[in-house]
């Protein structure tokens, strides 16, 4: 059997203001993209990651509102075009605080070839299950786009129960539940949400709980709903990946590892194996 081609479904372009080493903005010029690309590809090679999905950081400054968001999405597209084979998926964003004005940006992203839209609601000022999000998801469903939704522990607007509420309103649409593997409480919530809503897929980003917990996740949801993510931000240089290590150490079958390390993400994103 051929080697597993690892796909990282959770990489950010940009950073978090105030966090050392993070890029302060989500808008990069050509030279900044080139520098960012060099660091990122070096990390991916070192960690054995062949491909990745790119999404923005969600703390970018936006004094011009939607115009700033469009610039962030344009940066992502330019970054992807630098190496489409390595970054076959590009995931944009739109702020729920734009209300229904945000629908036009979803349409624009679709026309530009974005496969999904990412949100980190504790950084966006409205809840996952706010009525505006229902309008956004309805439009994305029409466009065949995938929602990437962060549910970081203790982020009240991005609580897992809110994602479940939204996902249950759109049972035919797959949802990505991200960031919950960092903490036992959020982890348990994600498992229960996934058991109740079969359209919820859970990523293993920030997995601090080790391979035992990963086995519990696969036992609860099946290997086809568990997805690798590393949460790599711009200019970070990690020298190992605890998420990949946990998958390799959990005693999964070859098929299960293929699902988690790339097969599931490629299937959801409609990418070639």
């Amino acid at each position: 059997m051929s080697a597993i081609r690892i796909f990282d479904n959770h990489q950010h372009v940009g950073g978090i203001p105030g966090v050392p080493g993070h890029h302060p903005s989500g808008v990069l010029d050509a030279a900044q993209i080139e520098m960012d690309y060099g660091v990122r590809v070096g990390v991916m090679r070192a960690l054995g990651i062949e491909q990745a999905a790119l999404m923005p950081g969600h703390s970018y400054p936006r004094p011009k509102g939607l115009a700033d968001t469009r610039a962030v999405n344009d940066t992502l597209l330019a970054y992807q075009k630098r190496d489409p084979a390595r970054f076959p998926a590009v995931i944009g964003t739109v702020e729920p605080r734009y209300g229904l004005d945000g629908l036009a940006e979803i349409d624009r992203m679709h026309e530009l070839g974005f496969q999904g839209v990412s949100w980190h609601h504790r950084q966006e000022g409205l809840a996952i299950d706010h009525p505006v999000m229902h309008a956004f998801i309805e439009r994305m469903q029409q466009r065949g786009m995938l929602p990437f939704i962060h549910c970081f522990p203790d982020g009240d607007f991005e609580a897992v129960w809110r994602l479940r509420h939204l996902a249950e309103a759109f049972p035919d649409m797959p949802f990505l539940c991200m960031d919950t593997a960092a903490h036992p409480e959020a982890f348990e919530e994600a498992l229960r949400a996934g058991e109740a809503a079969p359209n919820i897929h859970v990523d293993i980003t920030s997995l601090g709980l080790g391979p035992d917990w990963l086995r519990r996740m696969v036992a609860a949801l099946g290997s086809r709903r568990v997805i690798l993510g590393t949460n790599l931000y711009s200019l970070q240089r990690p020298n190992h990946c605890k998420e990949i290590d946990a998958v390799q150490q959990a005693g999964f079958s070859e098929a299960e590892r293929r699902d988690i390390l790339g097969g599931n993400a490629r299937r959801l994103l409609k990418l070639a194996e």
Binding site: P17, S59, K64, A67, Y98, G102, R122, L126, G155, D156
Partner: protein
């Protein structure tokens, strides 16, 4: 008894549910009609409010939307007249340093007395780096900072509120909503020395007015103010909450301090005409 409500938002005017729960701030040319068709605020004669805008509004145009919201806040306050002697605006931390000029404008042009932040709605953290610059500028312009400190909100976590406030020990900072859980109230009681420049309001008060007595004893009676957290179209709610304090077993001087005196000192309010403060 005179009542000053330090935590009162105006609502969505003629369209109570807004646009899917968000206020779309009208164009300036439409302010007069918007205000005229909004519900009246039948405040009692002995009640005054600090008016602040709703936290959830459409931000498609970024800082321009915030400027228009602040202008609308001035228009609503003007319509309320003497009932709203204190007016607070806002700026969005996601607008970065470009919003500093709006802080200046609020002080010089709009005659505001403070700035309200609601970090849960901003999508940023209370102690984010830009907030230090905002609070410094607000203090320099004579504006009182008001922060929401809602329990269980990571964005508005108490430790973040304290971390910001302790950078400005000489600046009084109002924190609203922080007493809305028993656990968080206990955290405040456990560390009375933290952020001594913070004044807490009563909105969402867990366990009723009696919970204010140990807070007054541990923190000092000057660090508590009445706030309802109500919208302007909910005056009965605010009156009920103030009435609960006035009818409680709290000592009368403490009741007066909470319901009027502390806020009056904070905002240099004149006594109400013909009323004993």
């Amino acid at each position: 008894m005179n009542v000053f409500d330090i935590h009162r938002h105006f609502a969505f005017g003629p369209e109570p549910s807004g646009e899917l729960g968000l206020l779309r701030v009208p164009q300036r040319s439409d302010f007069a009609g918007w205000v005229k068709s909004s519900p009246d605020v039948p405040l009692a004669a002995d009640s005054r409010v600090a008016l602040q805008p709703p936290a959830y509004y459409v931000l498609t145009q970024g800082l321009e939307d915030t400027r228009r919201l602040n202008d609308l806040t001035r228009a609503v306050a003007d319509a309320l007249g003497a009932r709203a002697p204190v007016v607070l605006g806002t700026v969005e931390p996601h607008h970065g340093e470009e919003a500093l000029a709006e802080i200046d404008r609020m002080a010089r042009e709009l005659r505001f007395a403070g700035i309200a932040w609601r970090h849960r709605a901003h999508g940023t953290f209370v102690d984010g780096p830009i907030m230090s610059k905002y609070v410094a500028r607000a203090a320099d312009r004579g504006l009182v900072p008001l922060l929401h400190g809602m329990p269980r909100s990571g964005n508005e976590a108490l430790w973040r509120v304290w971390r910001l406030a302790e950078q400005f020990p000489s600046v009084p900072i109002v924190v609203v909503g922080a007493l809305a859980s028993w656990d968080q109230t206990q955290a405040i009681l456990a560390e009375p020395g933290r952020a001594k420049n913070v004044v807490y309001d009563t909105s969402g008060l867990a366990n009723g007015p009696d919970a204010l007595l140990p807070l007054a004893e541990r923190l000092g009676p000057e660090r508590l103010v009445f706030g309802s957290g109500a919208h302007c179209d909910e005056p009965l709610t605010a009156a009920q909450l103030a009435g609960d304090i006035a009818r409680s077993s709290l000592p009368a001087p403490l009741q007066r301090a909470i319901l009027w005196d502390n806020a009056a000192r904070l905002f240099s309010l004149a006594p109400l005409e013909g009323k004993r403060p």
